[in-house]
Subunit: 378 residues, 4 copies
Amino acid sequence: MSALHIERSNLKIGEHPTGLPLEVPVITLTGPADGPTVYIQANIHGAEIQGNAVIHHLLEAFKANPPAGKITLVPLANPIGINHKNGEFTLGRFDPVTGVNWNRQYHFDGALLDGFVAELTEASDEAIRQQFRAQLRAQINQRLDNPWGLTVGQNLCLRLQRMAVEADIVLDLHTGPVSARHLYVPSYTRERARHFNIPLNILMPSDFDGALDEACFSPWWQLSERFAAQGRALPVMVDAFTLELGSQEWLNVEDAKQDAAGILNYLQHQGLWSHCADPLPYTLTLQTQYACELSDYKALYSPSGGQVEFLAPLCEPVPAGQPLARLWHFNQLGLTPDNGLYQALALPCNAIPVLHFASASVQQGTELYKVLTNTFAL
Amino acid sequence: MSALHIERSNLKIGEHPTGLPLEVPVITLTGPADGPTVYIQANIHGAEIQGNAVIHHLLEAFKANPPAGKITLVPLANPIGINHKNGEFTLGRFDPVTGVNWNRQYHFDGALLDGFVAELTEASDEAIRQQFRAQLRAQINQRLDNPWGLTVGQNLCLRLQRMAVEADIVLDLHTGPVSARHLYVPSYTRERARHFNIPLNILMPSDFDGALDEACFSPWWQLSERFAAQGRALPVMVDAFTLELGSQEWLNVEDAKQDAAGILNYLQHQGLWSHCADPLPYTLTLQTQYACELSDYKALYSPSGGQVEFLAPLCEPVPAGQPLARLWHFNQLGLTPDNGLYQALALPCNAIPVLHFASASVQQGTELYKVLTNTFAL
Amino acid sequence: MSALHIERSNLKIGEHPTGLPLEVPVITLTGPADGPTVYIQANIHGAEIQGNAVIHHLLEAFKANPPAGKITLVPLANPIGINHKNGEFTLGRFDPVTGVNWNRQYHFDGALLDGFVAELTEASDEAIRQQFRAQLRAQINQRLDNPWGLTVGQNLCLRLQRMAVEADIVLDLHTGPVSARHLYVPSYTRERARHFNIPLNILMPSDFDGALDEACFSPWWQLSERFAAQGRALPVMVDAFTLELGSQEWLNVEDAKQDAAGILNYLQHQGLWSHCADPLPYTLTLQTQYACELSDYKALYSPSGGQVEFLAPLCEPVPAGQPLARLWHFNQLGLTPDNGLYQALALPCNAIPVLHFASASVQQGTELYKVLTNTFAL
Amino acid sequence: MSALHIERSNLKIGEHPTGLPLEVPVITLTGPADGPTVYIQANIHGAEIQGNAVIHHLLEAFKANPPAGKITLVPLANPIGINHKNGEFTLGRFDPVTGVNWNRQYHFDGALLDGFVAELTEASDEAIRQQFRAQLRAQINQRLDNPWGLTVGQNLCLRLQRMAVEADIVLDLHTGPVSARHLYVPSYTRERARHFNIPLNILMPSDFDGALDEACFSPWWQLSERFAAQGRALPVMVDAFTLELGSQEWLNVEDAKQDAAGILNYLQHQGLWSHCADPLPYTLTLQTQYACELSDYKALYSPSGGQVEFLAPLCEPVPAGQPLARLWHFNQLGLTPDNGLYQALALPCNAIPVLHFASASVQQGTELYKVLTNTFAL
């Protein structure tokens, strides 16, 4: 039996001053066989649109070839961020009242690990999985029940996280400002992360700093580390990734097929179609993929104010000392014969540019480029 | 004698709350012979950067071939707008305190025409020119001396206008959001406007609505109309244009050479190098140029909220009924089998797209495209 | 029979990028007898909250003593402006994308007067009223049907105006930044405007500049002027007022009773309870009311940047030369022995302060105070 | 000898896109005798103006009675935050590009403690003071020399911190939104903190989270804790406080005298006038001062959207269950007979309100009030 059951609901995550309810669309797919639980969300940063088109293609693919397991799809995940314009652009990276990044408000308090490991030393992997997930679920629910209330971002993020905490695989679809495709890879997933077929990759440690991917993988990873310290090799039971699909403020539905293809390739590898007799059309020939450690993922900040020409193409290696950008000082016009009108900006080491700032007008301290350094093949 | 005299100064146009003075760079060129007075400014809208690079190339050209007359160049004309970021982008089209467009705060009170024409019915063209300019100058100075003070925008615009009012030719260098090159052409300049060699053109009437080009041409044009009503054919003595050089938030210094070339071609036609014996390298072969009346320069507004794919390439004719854009409603995912997920947006008539909105995320009422309709060759 | 019929509906005026519909609550009251049609709206500027509380009190009063005629109440009239925060405050005076003031987007094209007066020279007052209203209604509907769509502000304002155009009395409830109560009085209503019992008043001419009060009274006033030019004394058939109820970003429901009392006093004078046998409790003893012409309602702009102490109490006369405010320059600390640290700001004439700026940190050109000058008793 | 040496300079902390340098005024006072080094700054959050007036009064007091030691005064400490308006208000709490709070960008890397304590186990207190300060200074300088550049906030904060790191006493002058006076008290200073004579106090632990007070006291406090772990009682050698002087967007120079008086009382107690024979006029009679632990300093978040009446006066105890605020839902007008139009908001425990939100229009999740709970006398 190959039926796919599709449910659609709206999740209320807040309320505007006029009383207008803020809702997020949630699509739940239940497949024809048991399999992993998958959670995929897009557009938590308001200007990062392209992931919605990827979810559209994924839904089409899932309809065409029903996967095993249960899949939750959440497009347009942040109605506050998406709907907040200042000028023509979407001010969607942070809460406009408090400045807090929308993707730093998920929750994990590591204190729950302390007692847990001692209690379940002898438990089966499956028992650990179920009981640890129950604890994570309880931690989120407890926070949602705070009698003092929740911030705007917590109202949003904790309700999304309550769905994500149930999943074995979590994908958070983002974009950069002007950006090449890149992927944040928790290092324990390094082998299978290659199946996304994304050219640039950043390897992450087990720390938690408030983002959704971290909120989903850190608890399980730290759990695994605790057991390892006791000599038991417990696998990390959840995969969670942040995919950066290109540039913000841009929609290209055709182009999103490429991102959907990488995700389907990864999901197939994770067993979503292991119930199917025939081979499916989702296998990709993998391209060369570069990676570096998170500590080697570096930003170049503007040494002064000015207007920038971004010279270095994204995703192509730049040798040390070769100009990445030209910073113009048009306030020098009429003053300078030949010097001082612009300066060339280069890096002290080889690098691969991943993204650059979205505006050509910058102040001293603007993040001009982010680059991979000390790269290696994924 | 071919010397060019270059002076550089800073014009104070405001003061920040901390007492920080806000200054605009002013470069004044005095050529080796008598000739027209020219005023060229760039970046009055904060995100519209490219004009600064055009001024750079013009300055280089003027140094290489000193022009007759006097030229004033003002790059980075609006330090408040240029320096005001909200998120990564520059909120530079309007005063962030009041919302008033920075290019709607120039001044002209048509009341001065009333007495003027009667008094100078018999005067020579040159006497009219001098006395009318003196009146315009006095009107601006009087407003600057207001004992109640001036708004932020008036402090800026009137000080720029005080320089522009002295000029026979005024060029205000702008860009659109995501935009093809286009030109606002006061209709009396239609013949000579062709020398800018800009593909898309909008013909303007003699009204004044607060923009710099209008503030410079409307008084002289209305003066000419008044004399015409009395049967005297007085030429319009000032040319003023707004040039839209492409897209905002972007700098490409090489590409700006093309805009400089068109301006030099126009300026040469206006006699800036008539003192030169040898032909100069500024003559262009003109491309096909489309135009329409201002009343036929139309905007398409979004019929609902959603995410947009801008389909129609800029500067290429689109027939009536052919989709310009696709508006996606990702909140319909999981609800709609095949309809309702997107709508195609078309126009009721043939058109040439000039510019489109800078973000793919739009609300009901967002200006999606601006287009020329009822076009003809310039 | 003294029943009051109450209907409540929601008016859709726009849609967010996520598809979220933007709705305005509309309460319609139909009284027990024929009488004037009244339209009252609040909060078109997002930070101007207090009018909602006034509408609450009015509704209670109307329930207690059902008025003749038909009344439409529209609280929270602008969901876009009300819901748009930047920092803690509401950026609600203008469209954050375009900068256009939300209260400058109503519509009236005076061209319809041209043919109208000639055609109805001999018609009765009542025929004129009905036919002119039909024309105004048609003008708005035609604009709403624009095949090119409408801007965000037009989508909002024209839908509100379509309700207001039916009314004989229109009240638009605003507040200032930090402000005393004041009233914009179209000069033909001067006698009856006194019944609002508001201490400060500004007399308006018949011009139209896009605000709701003007959009409602200008057509009828200009119509009256046209008939007057032909020798026929046609009364102005619509009253429309903008009431400024105090300060923005503030709600005091008890205090709003005072504003409701003034409005009820005016409405009673306009005949809303003429069907009642017994006297009603709405008659007020009028206080002293000052007024000036709109051209004498002046703003003082800051002569430089700095930090301001607002010295002059609102609503109390200040003689010429007496300091209204002290402007501090803390960047002079350590530089100046005794001078230069602050400057006292005074006016060249006697004045009554109406409102002042909402922040103590100002740039050169900030509107510090607005004041009545050349005042007289209303 | 009672001379006071005053120097004034400007510190460049950034550059606008136009090249405009961003400067902070620095006043350095050298007293007639040896004494503590003091650093006092104001207005790092752009809307928090009142501290500048306090610095003005302190400077006058220091001139009248020259203190021992060296004092650095920094008014208008954040030209970016102070000069950034959105609407009438100052968007000054966070970087408008990145959202990062301006008072979370100071630096301390605790790794330097690791080797340090082992090396100086036997050193004198004074040797420890000097060498530890040298290390802190070096850490800041190293970060300032980053070849990849610095963010906008680091360019500002590290340059301020480079001055503050030299001080024995650091005062950072802030305000709340609408707020009573309150003080953040590192718990080791509890006794002497009473001399500020501030009614509400929050006791802080030794953590570092990026604020200036923490950046100044945490290193020394953690150093003391390390030595304590080894059995040596090393005093914490630096006092650092954040003073919250009342409400933002407001200046009252007379009122600031009260804050200056508290600071002078504290400074006198810390020995700034121990070189003076005669008693000075700075001794205050202390008022009742309440305090609670940081973990008991709680925020109440709005349970839904609406318009708020803030009922509870600041600085006065409110018993559990008594309404702090009334939240109005004007979108219920015409729907609800008597219920649902507003809700009363109360707390689950006794509390003393410290501050409330600056706008009466709130969304679900807005921080309505901050309160002390489990209070005790300081």
